[in-house]
């Protein structure tokens, strides 16, 4: 019953996280969902998972979100050039650091479950070594993607106005599929970035 109660509270926090208009508040609500998750994991006899959840889920993810909000959550980009560029470069680095942290975390051992053949760390590091190896693959490809996405590259000369809907491919008659000739350019340059 207590778990259900906790879950309902978590669900309430989750709704708040989604409904609130303030992004930072939203992240805080998410962090509280994470904290409640941790408690539920404890009550479900999964303390190690709980620790990781609180460190990664409530910690790292929340930090990342705040980062992202500080970079992207504001309306204009003009005044933050130097600041966000600095932060941007550290973004992957910080991610990796946090991940290393949990790997190195000393975790308390608990008794195996009734049908478990081994303890947590044996299962994780030996029985399911493949999963762990794959985590490395996942982290590696994520880091590559991050580097790719956030690489310090020349921004296009103009931030392009993208919101206006455009009849990209309106109907043509079926037998002769002729493309519509676009008179107006799809992307209109709107303002220059200094």
């Amino acid at each position: 019953m207590d778990k259900l109660g906790l879950l309902l509270v978590a669900a309430y926090c989750a709704i708040q996280a989604i409904r609130t208009t303030n992004l930072l508040l939203s992240v805080l609500w998410l962090a509280s969902v994470s904290a409640l998750t941790t408690i539920i994991l404890f009550t479900l006899d999964a303390p190690q998972a709980a620790v990781i959840e609180i460190s990664v889920g409530a910690g790292l993810v929340a930090v990342l979100l705040v980062f992202a909000i500080s970079i992207a959550g504001e309306e204009t980009l003009h005044n933050h050039d130097t600041l966000w560029k600095k932060m941007l470069r550290r973004f992957p680095l910080i991610t990796v650091l946090f991940l290393l942290l949990w790997i190195l975390l000393p975790l308390p051992e608990t008794q195996p479950g009734a049908k478990d053949t081994a303890t947590f760390s044996t299962i994780l590091w030996e029985d399911r070594a493949l999963d762990v190896l794959l985590q490395i693959v996942i982290i590696f490809s994520a880091v590559l993607s991050l580097l790719g996405l956030l690489a310090d590259q020349k921004l296009p000369a103009a931030v392009q106005h993208y919101a206006a809907p455009h009849p990209l491919n309106e109907a043509a008659s079926p037998t002769e599929q002729v493309a519509i000739v676009d008179d107006e350019p799809i992307l209109e340059p709107e303002r220059e970035l200094a």
Binding site: A171, S173, P174, T175, E176
Partner: protein, 582 residues
């Protein structure tokens, strides 16, 4: 030896196609030359194949798994089709040397024609259903590519697409039938289907019989699947002669004839086949009567003649149908090539803008008239003998209604043919272009075909013997040409048919004085000129499909949240299904 002949009949033109495709447009002479050589060689091989006909499997290629073996059998029906394809094919290629002069992309044109010739031969010779379907579809593909050969002409593109889609729709019939047979027998050999058809469950045999009928109707342009054939007239005229008159459209008749023994006892099948034939013959004849496009008239007449052949199969006249198939292939190819010569020099296809051509192109006129006489069934022409055989068969086997229909058809044929010949060649010219006699390459083809129209009926005995010898399930008995002549001469219906022909001619002769009758028939003529509404039906189907597509496209809004709605809805649907199942 037979294996070689079979392999070469299919392989030679394909090899030629490969070579000619590699020759760029700068060397038109080489393109023409290689195409002519390849097609002539094929024709020669196919004549050899005619003599090597047998019931035995000539080539067997093991494919494995569900695909079984690919089998080629040079039996009577098969070698006839292969020989027609190869011989008429070579004549059209020769004709094309003149007709397609100065055209671009000749390498593609000849490659496709040669691929078609090989494929058509393969279709006839295929001994298992998968291979048959395989060739069946490739002929449709070639037909599409050649109709749309002028890819800048929207009418050609639309016509090609229409031909492709409708014959493919029919192809589904062949597919379903073939697979049903395979599902029961575990093999798709045609001989097995013919031998063990009675052992099939009744519903499945019905399914096979009627789906093959649909396939045949689509391929042979029978009503209501006929509307692609007039559209196909956008193709270069030699293509119309080869594919849309002499060979590919025969595939449907061939299919029905080949499987007749298996389906003959299916309730209602023979009646359905005869009905399809008669209805097509009559409706197409009416449409030919009111059409003004030279090639379209011929296309409708092809539908009508194919209707006769389909009817003949339904009436059990396998020999009669194949005999008429042979005659028709020759005289219709002649007519189309003649029309091609006319169009080539006049520059229009509208018969209202022709007239008086006999003065400027007498040789073409003679050839065309010979073809027209064969089409009408003037005694002595090949079309006469084969058509009379069909009529005789109808009189013996079918109900009087059908016979009356057949006779009306004969009269209508005479009427529209005379109208066509009259408008094109007689009277005074209604055009301004300078017209010359056709070039020699064209005249060679026309001459050979004209001689053929006069003489191929002499082949009745060998043809009948070949069919009787190699088709064990059809229980045919061999007839000599003499038998055919005496049969036809003795049959009362021959006289009736000739009377109908005479009536048809008379109607055209009197058409100036029959204004009141024509006025009465205005409505009918209007309906006929609009394709009896089938064209509108096609268009409606097309329009509704594209409307549906457009509606569906608007569900792809591109909004992330909407997409998530889709995912959630899908999950809910699955879970509801699961809940019901549990």
């Amino acid at each position: 030896m037979t294996a070689w002949l079979v392999g070469l009949t299919i392989g030679l033109p394909w090899l030629g196609a490969l070579i000619v495709w590699r020759i760029p447009d700068h060397y038109p002479q080489r393109q023409h030359g290689i195409a002519v050589i390849a097609s002539l060689l094929t024709a020669a091989v196919s004549i050899g194949l005619l003599t090597a006909h047998s019931t035995e499997v000539a080539l067997r290629l093991h494919i494995g798994g569900i695909f079984g073996d690919f089998i080629l059998v040079p039996d009577g029906l098969g070698v006839l089709l292969a020989a027609i394809a190869a011989i008429i094919g070579s004549l059209t290629v020769i004709f094309s040397v003149a007709y397609m002069e100065h055209e671009a992309c000749l390498n593609r044109y000849y490659a496709l024609v040669l691929i078609f010739i090989g494929t058509m031969a393969g279709l006839g010779l295929a001994g298992n259903l998968l291979l048959m379907f395989f060739f069946w579809e490739i002929t449709a593909l070639c037909s599409y590519a050649l109709i749309a050969f002028d890819h800048d002409n929207p009418a050609a593109v639309a016509g090609g697409l229409k031909a492709l889609v409708i014959t493919q729709l029919g192809g589904i019939g062949l597919l379903i039938g073939a697979l049903t047979a395979y599902g029961r027998f575990g093999t798709d050999e045609i001989a097995v289907l013919l031998a063990r058809a009675e052992t099939l469950p009744k519903t499945e045999l019905n399914l096979i019989a009627f789906s093959f009928l649909i396939a045949a109707m689509a391929k042979s342009a029978q009503v209501p699947f006929h509307s692609w054939l007039p559209g196909a007239m956008e193709a270069p005229t030699p293509i119309s002669a080869l594919i849309h008159a002499a060979t590919m459209v025969n595939a449907g008749v061939y299919l029905l004839a080949r499987f007749y023994p298996a389906f003959e006892d299916v309730t209602g099948w023979t009646t359905a086949v005869m009905t399809v034939g008669i209805v097509s013959a009559l409706m197409a004849a009416l449409m030919a009567l009111v059409a003004n496009d030279l090639k379209r008239v011929l296309a409708y007449s092809t539908i009508s003649q194919l209707g006769y052949m389909v009817f003949a199969v339904g009436a059990g006249g396998i020999f009669a149908s194949q005999f008429h198939l042979l005659s028709h292939a020759v005289f219709k190819a002649l007519l189309f090539l003649g029309a091609g010569a006319v169009i080539h020099s006049v520059g229009t296809r509208d018969i209202r803008q022709m007239g008086g051509l006999w003065r400027s192109m007498p040789q073409v006129t003679i050839a065309f008239v010979i073809g027209a006489m064969a089409l009408v069934g003037i005694p002595g022409m090949n079309g006469f003998w084969s058509k009379e055989l069909i009529l005789e068969r109808g009189l013996d086997e079918a109900s009087p209604v059908f016979v009356v229909g057949l006779l009306i058809g004969v009269g209508l044929t005479a009427l529209y043919t005379l109208r066509l010949v009259w408008l094109v060649f007689a009277g005074t010219p209604r055009f301004s272009a300078q017209v010359h006699e056709a070039p020699s390459a064209m005249r060679i083809s026309l001459g050979i075909l004209a001689v053929g129209s006069l003489t191929t009926w002499l082949l009745a005995s060998p043809l009948s013997k070949m069919l009787a010898e190699t088709l064990p399930y059809h229980h045919l008995h061999s007839e000599t040409t003499r038998d055919v002549i005496s049969d036809v001469m003795a049959a009362p219906i021959t006289a009736l048919a000739l009377v109908c022909v005479a009536l048809g001619f008379l109607l055209w002769g009197l058409h100036d004085r029959l204004g009141w009758l024509i006025a009465r028939l205005q409505l009918l003529s209007q309906i006929a000129s609009q394709d009896f509404g089938f064209e509108a039906l096609n268009r409606a189907v097309m329009r509704s499909t594209s409307t549906l597509a457009e509606r569906l496209r608007s569900t792809q809004t591109g909004e992330l949240n909407w997409n998530i709605w889709g995912i959630v809805a899908g999950l809910v649907a699955i879970l509801i299904y699961v809940a019901v199942e549990v």
